[in-house]
Amino acid sequence: MAKDRLAEVLERYEAVIGLEIHTELTSLRSKMFCGCPVAFGGEPNTRVCPVCLGMPGALPVPNEAAVEATVLAGLALECEIARFSQFHRKNYFYPDMPKNYQISQYDLPFCKNGHLDVEVGEGASAYVTRVGITRIHLEEDTGKMIHVGGAEGRIAGADYSLVDFNRAGTPLIELVTEPDIRTPEEARRFAQTLRTVFLALGISDCSMEEGSMRVDANVSIRPRGATEFGTKAEVKNMNSFKALHDALAYEIVRQADLLDSGGRVVQETRHWDAAAKRTSGLRSKEEAHDYRYFPEPDMVPFEFTDEWIASVKAKLPELPAARRERYAAELGLPKQDARLIADDVALSRFFEQAVSVAGADRAKPVANWVLGELSAHLNATGLAVEECGILPEMLAELVVLIEDGTISGKQGKDVFAEMAQTGERPGAVVERRGMRQVSDTDAIEAVARRVLDAHPDEVASYRGGKSGLIGWFVGQVMREMRGQANPAVVNDVLRALLDQQDR
């Protein structure tokens, strides 16, 4: 579906989007209500116990670290934290849910009424939109099912189904936004920005692909200027930020086409098929639920004191938004660079360590190297910054070598490649390879004179007005000096000689 089709639709209709985001607290050591480890994958049904298998008589005991992580998320998103809260049981039958009820939260979530400011777009058209956060609550994840035979991997029509309970009981936070989102791009940016916050908090690895972050969307459209909401559809199964964007774009156009042709939008759950690039309705039989929520009697309610909440708040790390501000204001980074580094916890940690060695006045070149060569290296190798073999001090040393003129920027790239390969310090590479850049004006002038003497025709042309030849002369001098001359000095010396003799 063409992008301009969406743009055309959005001229006539306003989309109203709310997101429901489930995030597994993958950084925790144990599951929500038992001591089983939290980890992705593994041999089926090996990380299970009587509690997370729902064996008769087993009881849930809440993981306090998960409660704290949820409250931490709430504080990071400016939520009100409940003083009194409790778990509820959400009752429905499904084979991936061992107890046939999910321990979740209902009318007393841990966090509510927060917001997140999201930067959308680039350059001149960039804007910030504030998305309200209705609530954040804590619950347990289900197991996973594999349906064999039948269509589209669904239980209906399958020959048989297998259940893996390794994931069952993994702590899961559910975040629900207000219907404040207006475009697929805003939705994508919200999800991406939320991810940077959760990564900064260190509560989850937020992997859309592995399912540790799962985004569902409610979307409806209404004619521009209307105040009533249209009928919404819930879109599920979007396994990447791109899928989130594309599914919403598809759904908005689909709904517009329906309305344009005199039809009506039906309230239903729709499944995004990334391969077919379309959404399709689930059979309504699968969704008519009365969850019969009631307070979980196996646990006592939570009563959070102001002191406890303050103690959690004290653990809040610097969040990406504040870091972006700081990089721009204190280190003078361009907005875009500041965001790219600040949004990535590991990269910003690396950057800040490098700056602390190289000096704040060299923050900009450090940022350039982090976003340039270093990021390219990480992309190419697939390594995380902590494990790539290049230490912040090494990059800082490299930047200093360039900035003080010891080597040229071009040589710096060679040194970077060498140090990435061998782990050798840049200073050592420069020494070993004799790359130390010559900035000595006398030495350069001697070579420059030789070059000018050897090429009288070119000198004449230059002096005749072909000033562009300066670059050619610089190249000749650099070649003579095997690249070790400081190009800026060479440039200056050549100009001086050429202009002097001109007089």
């Binding site: 064996m55 008769p56 087993a58 009881l59 084979p95 019969r292």
Partner: protein, 494 residues
């Protein structure tokens, strides 16, 4: 054998002492209990499963300790029955239901483990009303348990097997679970001492849940002292049960000799007036009050008008929680599963329809209805408000009194089948016991007489403040000593 009594007649305290003095071995005790089960259980059907291997292994450990001259734990060599809704590795945990008929325990219930750690010998798993739904043990998928006092009568329920096993001297003590009276009512009907501890006093981990906010494990015994010893062994915080409370456990045995001088006892008069309370029951309980007064207790009268609404609240809250707790029995991971299911819904519906008995189905449907959208406030919400009012009413009563005295059950043991077709009449059986579960309070049922017309036991319920089991043991022990009732059922006396 001492003074004409068999080993099986000995109390837990006597058994332990005899073993310590090397008058009997734990093995002999185990064998005596198993022989008694062999002899009587065909008539009584107290047990769903007997586990001689586990009992004899436990006995061997005790005998080894005796041989090594080690200090013995408090229940060393005491034969014990365990209600078949508590997990014990090496046994099935059936809940007297077809749906768990072949279910082998994969872990051991905390309270059971503590009982075994205290030296008890696990003799077997005791029959119950399916999933503890009932007051007569007739709702067992494996057939009813009979009352050793009269085999034509019920032992009460739902812990009827645990009560009958102790009354018939097949075991010295047993564990039951009490959600609305399931320990105390069968205690009264079988002439045993039966304790429902404070909610949170004993871990529920490993007890197959009926109603999580009401369930509590407690002991049956033939003496108050034995009951106190068992509770001592199983009480205390368990990290595996978030509702168990980290409150110090009193020395219950010390309370037994304290006497009742100055103890403020409230006789709950409006409960005696409830229609359906048999005259003999009323007289026996009033007699108990006079006895306590004669022993120096300050006996007064109190009314608990809200408590009569407990029954209605209970039959909303209990089934509501049960409908959710029993959802896990779906045939997917364990338990009964139909062989030829067409799809997952068919598998659920038919496995459950075949696996659950009629009373379980009734309660699941009641609870599902009470929690349904549009009905929740009118039923569950209202029941919780009633519960709050009952809690307040008790709190006020306990400002004036240390313990409260009521009948345990409005009648003596009734005949098998007598109330089976009338669930509401059956539910009334627990009218005195239910309010304590709703308020989380501890209660003990202690024999206070034999019915003049039937010769059947009558029990009185003594309730105390939260975590003040010591006060109720104190009153119960004084009554037991003063009344000195002969509570040997005819079946045993022969």
């Amino acid at each position: 054998m001492m003074s004409g009594r068999t080993i099986a007649d000995m109390t837990a305290v006597e058994v332990r002492d005899a073993i310590e003095r090397k008058e009997v071995s734990a093995r002999e005790v185990a064998e005596a209990a198993l022989a008694r089960v062999e002899e009587l259980d065909a008539h009584v059907h107290a047990f769903n499963q007997v586990c001689p291997d586990l009992a004899l292994q436990a006995a061997a450990r005790i005998d080894a300790m005796v041989a090594a001259g080690e200090a013995l734990p408090p229940l060393a060599g005491v034969p014990a029955g365990i209600k078949d809704n508590m997990n014990l590795v090496g046994t099935r945990t059936t809940c007297s239901s077809r749906i768990l008929q072949d279910y082998e325990s994969v872990y051991t219930c905390t309270a059971v483990q503590r009982l075994l750690d205290a030296g008890a010998l696990p003799v077997g798993k005791c029959n119950l009303d399916e999933f503890a739904f009932g007051s007569s043990t007739e709702n067992s998928a494996f057939g009813p348990t009979r009352n050793p006092w009269d085999l034509e009568r019920v032992p009460g329920g739902s812990s009827g097997g645990s009560a009958a096993a102790v009354a018939a001297r097949m075991v010295a003590v047993s564990l039951g679970s009490d959600t609305g009276g399931s320990i105390r009512q069968p205690g009264a009907l079988t002439g045993t001492v039966a304790v429902k501890p404070t909610y949170g006093r004993v871990s529920r981990y490993g007890l197959v849940a009926f109603a999580s906010s009401l369930d509590q494990i407690g002991p049956f015994a033939r003496t108050v002292e034995d009951a106190a010893l068992v509770l001592q062994a199983i009480a205390g915080k368990d990290p595996l049960d978030a509702t168990s409370v980290d409150e110090p456990v009193d020395d219950y045995r010390a309370a037994l000799d304290a006497g009742v001088e100055g103890l403020r006892v409230g006789l709950v008069t409006d409960m005696l007036d409830i229609e359906g309370c048999a005259a003999e029951v009323r007289e026996a309980v009033e007699g108990a009050a006079r006895t306590l007064a004669a022993l120096g207790a300050e006996v007064g009268e109190v009314a608990l008008p809200m408590s009569r609404h407990g029954l209605s609240a209970y039959y909303i809250i209990g089934p509501a929680e049960a409908s959710s707790n029993l959802a896990r029995f779906d045939g997917i991971r364990y338990g009964h599963r139909v062989k030829d299911a067409e799809d997952v819904l068919d598998l659920y519906m038919r496995s459950r329809a075949e696996g659950f008995g009629p009373e379980s189905i009734r309660r699941i449907m009641l609870g599902t209805y009470a929690l349904s959208a549009g009905y929740y406030e009118a039923y569950y919400g209202q029941a919780q408000k009633t519960r709050t009012l009952i809690i307040r009413e008790f709190a006020e009563a306990f400002e004036r009194f240390d313990v409260l005295l009521t009948p345990t059950s409005p009648t003596v043991a009734f005949k098998l089948g007598e109330k089976a077709s009338d669930p509401l009449a059956m539910y009334l059986s627990d009218v005195y016991t239910i309010p304590l579960n709703l308020a989380g309070l501890p209660g003990i049922s202690v024999p206070v007489g034999l019915c003049p017309s039937t010769g059947l036991p009558i029990g009185a319920q003594i309730a105390a403040r939260h975590f003040d089991e010591a006060a109720m043991f104190r009153a119960a022990a004084a009554l037991e000593r003063a009344l000195a009732l002969d509570m040997v059922p005819p079946l045993v006396r022969k």
